[in-house]
């Protein structure tokens, strides 16, 4: 290279440069701190203030936790033991533990059913959440709604069995006439299912004691369990309804399209709390007198409708983000609408929509606490009502609300972590 002329632009590299370690000042803890915490006076000042605030919080909360009392029977006893020092009165949690979780009316000797239902819920949800698990497990997932219902509400096993049979018979009828047209199939499903349920109704009435668990009416459900029931049921229902609404909104058929648009826009235009009041009071006017249309079901319908509308909009965004080419490629291969939607469009649209759907799901779960305003005793209702109103625990705000916050945070944070994990799993573009 020495004979290269000063003005020549030609250049040929003869030796490749080896890779080198970065200079020491670019790595290590000290470097990180200098870069991120103490870069410039403003940055340093912010860091100092932040450290001070954190110190204050920890210094305040730490003794409260450490001195906490876990085994008294009332706030007064706590105060006696503490003698004016800071300390939480966590005994309220231990003493009212069952009420916080299960409400105050569910028969105590039947708690095992709720715990079992909860454990089985994990088993049922697992294959849906983790697609690496064997597909056969989905069989149990399909049965879970019926098992779960039986465990929680009790009564004869015949009731959920008849419900299940209705679906199965309906599905068989659907399969039989599906080839004619989808609408015919849907009609056949409806007719067959209704007939089965109607006939099954006789069976249930004639043998109410068949494999019966002690029946617990809906108004006895309470505590965090009620939030879980509402959350799980409404999330699992609102996802399919949301998908249908989103697809309906894109439909070529004007009537379907308009129904979906009106539904979505109406629901999104009203506060959930008003819908809950409607469920509580107004719906009863529309029902024939004497029908006992469970309050829980009414609430589930309203929350589901509410969440479906939001999920539909989220999914519509996902659908809009798909390039036209995906539809065209699916079409050009001869896939029909249902196949293209299920195999090509929805998997991609849902993947794009995961953050939005999770957002709605987390919001929905937290909104289940709103039922406390229509005198249902969910976790918040329990704390506000029976517990804080009792003479023993009147005034234990921090511990109780902290516990409620903690429970909801655990669930919502897990959902959020799961969704981020799922997004990484589904990422296929850069691996």
């Amino acid at each position: 290279m020495s004979d290269m002329h000063a003005h020549s632009v030609a250049f040929v590299r003869e030796t490749m440069l080896p890779e080198q370690e970065p200079p020491a000042s670019e790595v290590g803890v000290v470097h990180w701190m200098r870069e991120n915490l103490f870069r410039g006076w403003a940055n340093t000042l912010m860091t100092v203030i932040a450290i001070f605030v954190i110190y204050k919080i920890v210094a305040g909360a730490f003794p409260w936790f450490v001195n906490g009392i876990w085994s008294t029977n009332s706030l007064a006893e706590c105060r006696e033991i503490l003698q004016g020092t800071t300390g939480g009165c966590f005994s309220v949690l231990t003493e009212r533990w069952n009420q916080l979780l299960f409400g105050f009316k569910y028969p105590q000797d039947q708690y095992w059913r709720l715990i079992l239902a909860f454990v089985l819920l994990g088993l049922a949800a697992a294959p849906v959440l983790f697609n690496k698990l064997p597909k056969q497990m989905l069989f149990f997932t399909g049965l879970y709604p019926f098992i779960g219902f039986w465990l929680i509400w009790g009564g004869t096993l015949l009731a959920p069995l008849v419900a299940l049979a209705g679906f199965l018979v309906g599905f068989a009828a659907f399969k039989k006439v599906e080839h004619q047209s989808f609408a015919m199939g849907a009609l056949a499903f409806l007719v067959a299912a209704l007939v089965t349920w109607f006939l099954g109704g006789f069976a249930i009435r004639s043998a109410p004691g068949f494999l019966a668990l002690e029946a617990v009416p809906s108004r006895d459900m309470g505590g965090f369990m009620l939030n879980m029931i509402l959350g799980v049921v409404c999330v699992s229902l609102s996802l399919p309804f949301g998908i249908l609404l989103a697809l309906g909104r894109q439909s070529d058929m004007p009537i379907i399209k308009w129904i979906c648009v009106v539904f979505i826009e109406f629901i999104r235009g009203v506060p959930l709390i008003t819908l809950l009041f409607v469920a509580n009071v107004v719906l009863a006017y529309f029902l024939p007198p004497g029908t006992t249309f469970d309050l829980i079901i009414r609430v589930i319908i309203m929350i589901t409708a509410f969440a479906s509308a939001y999920i539909a909009e989220v999914i519509r965004g996902g659908l809009a983000a798909l390039p036209r080419g995906q539809y065209e490629a699916a079409d050009s291969l001869g896939l029909d609408y249902a196949q293209a939607t299920r195999l090509i469009i929805m998997p991609q649209a849902l993947k794009i929509s995961i953050p939005g759907i999770v957002n709605v799901a987390v919001g929905l779960f937290k909104d289940t606490t709103l039922v406390s305003v229509i005198s249902m005793f969910d976790l918040v209702g329990m704390i506000r009502g029976p517990i804080l109103a009792s003479t023993e625990w009147n005034g234990v705000y921090w511990e109780l609300w902290g516990f409620a916050v903690f429970l909801f945070f655990i669930v919502c944070y897990s959902i959020s972590q799961y969704s981020q994990w799922l997004e990484r799993q589904l990422q296929t573009d850069h691996r």
Binding site: E328, A329, G334, P347, T428, D429, H430, R431
Partner: protein
Amino acid sequence: MAEAAQTQMEISNEVAIQIENMNKWYGTFHVLRDIDLTVYRGERIVIAGPSGSGKSTLIRCINALEEHQKGSISVDGTRLSSDVKNIDRIRSEVGMVFQHFNLFPHLTILENCTLAPIWVRKTPKKEAEEIAMHFLTKVKIPDQAKKYPGQLSGGQQQRVAIARSLCMRPRIMLFDEPTSALDPEMIKEVLDTMVELAEEGMTMLCVTHEMGFARQVANRVIFMDAGQIVEQNEPEEFFNNPQNERTKLFLSQILGH
């Protein structure tokens, strides 16, 4: 197989596609005007023309990705109607390759290729996978079968797209500018695949600006302008002795530097 294919090179009298007096509008815009075209089995037709002349629209009408408003299109003797079943059947007989590949990014290469055979043709999964591997080998990327489209180069993706179409055993293949989204060094690998396909006697309609390819494999070149077929001829004649003024202008622009 190759031998049999070679003998099929000549064109039969059997009509593969019959387009008669076909017209299409986008709203009030008259995109295709009085298109008449008969494609015989085994023909390799290249469609050329300036941008916006309606080339894509024409071939997209053949598999009903676009609806035409007047005239008729018959594929394999079946007339395209608005009946969904009819359309789906024709689409499963007609393969299409797009400019932007349009592979399904959430499925592996193998799944991309087996999806339609399994769901449309009801082929058993195992058999569908064998067919898919056969065609992936043919387009020379069997080793990428487990990867996702996003991990492949453009040229590889386009070859997968071709294999995906072939897995449906189509009788007709439509190509819409299959190489114009590719870098120059990848164009050749895709064109080679297409040449091979042509040599096996596949009926092909191909919108492309690759005039070398047209000369090599086409038995007919169609020139379109303003929604009409302006000129069609054998490639030699078409390139060396164009008749229409618009064709001459187009060729001088595309070939002459």
